[in-house]
């Protein structure tokens, strides 16, 4: 169960004890992933880009740009220094679901995922829920209350998403730092209970 840090060429000492962890933030387009990351990040969310090559042209319609043989997939992320030797990164998933390969890469070693849900467009979150259920990554559902309104009860959302009753479903406000923090705390607690009970 121990986490062993692999320190390439690191000397013993304080600097050698630096550790990073990550949490994935998923959800449909425009549901507030970057807002969520930005509300708690100590840096303005940054964007890293990955290139997709010609191999993907079967799924990407590039007919209107015949000379284009690469596509860029963007991922927003933020950073929170939790301790002098511990940094948490929050990664927003690339919105388009055809970029599963990026997700596979992203969830390696992640603590878990927050799936942000807009109850007016619940179906937008189905692919993310399916994905995390299949991959065994602990996740929580954050109902992003647009205009501060939560017209649906957590239990109803849980049933509508057809997820296990063990998966926490919590109202949140992606713009609000305290709310985002509370959502992350819920996720970490859930990840711990998942690990303690050995269930996914």
């Amino acid at each position: 169960m121990d986490s062993v840090r692999s320190s390439v060429g690191a000397p013993q000492g304080a600097a050698a004890a630096m550790t990073s962890v990550k949490i994935v933030v998923a959800g449909g387009f425009g549901v507030g992933k970057t807002t969520f990351v930005g509300s708690v990040s100590e840096i303005t969310p940054l964007t890293t880009e990955a290139m997709m090559t010609v191999a993907s042209t079967d799924v990407d319609d590039l007919s209107h740009v015949p000379d284009k043989n690469t596509t860029t997939v963007a991922m927003d992320f933020g950073r929170i220094t939790l301790d002098k030797d511990l940094i948490l990164y929050l990664f927003g998933t690339p919105g388009q679901h055809r970029f599963w390969f990026m997700w596979d890469d992203l969830i390696q070693g992640a603590i878990g995922a927050v799936v942000l849900v807009d109850t007016r467009r619940l179906a937008d979150s189905f692919p993310a829920v399916d994905y995390f259920e299949a991959s065994g990554l602990p996740f929580v559902i954050g109902i992003n209350g647009f205009y501060g309104q939560f017209p649906h009860r957590s239990k109803d959302v849980s049933e509508a998403l057809a997820i296990s009753p063990d998966v926490p479903v919590i109202p949140c406000d992606a713009r609000n730092r305290e709310s985002t923090k509370a959502t992350l705390v819920t996720l970490v607690e859930h990840a711990m209970s998942v690990q303690a009970t050995g269930r996914y």
Partner: protein
Amino acid sequence: MTGPPRGDDRPLPPGSARSWDNRSGGPWEERSANWNRGSNAWEGGRPPAGGSWDTASGRRGGGQRSNEEEAVGRLVRPYTVTGGRTQPRYQLQVEALVTATVYEPRDLSVLAPECQAILQFCRDWRSVAEISAVLRLPLGVARILIADMGADGLVRIHQREDAEGRPDLNLLERVLSGLRKI
């Protein structure tokens, strides 16, 4: 769940005696120790931590570019700097931390400008994702360059190797208490 493949099974380039998974001692440690002894003299000239970050992130503040602009603006093919390689020596996670072991390589001219930029930027701990975003290197390119620089002893790389493929309870406990404090 078993741990993800780390690229440990990937054959190393001919002539390379090093491996990513060399956790205790070995050529890695010795080599690094030498580097550090050699670089102590430069510590005095180290700028305040975070200084370069602010400058660099400010540069990005100009807003998002569209994919089209990006395609037009990028005159050099992205993998030219890696010599056409698209696979790194070891699989670096996006959150793996990188720090420079040397700040002023004796001969800068042997390093690609991208590698010089990485050394400049990594005067404090930076993740692979931050390096990619701030230096505007596609993630795949950044991973290859960083892994190479790690092999050459120019940077130190810290990446967790979880026995269960996920952070253990002890680490989660620390994250939880950190989150409650911020």
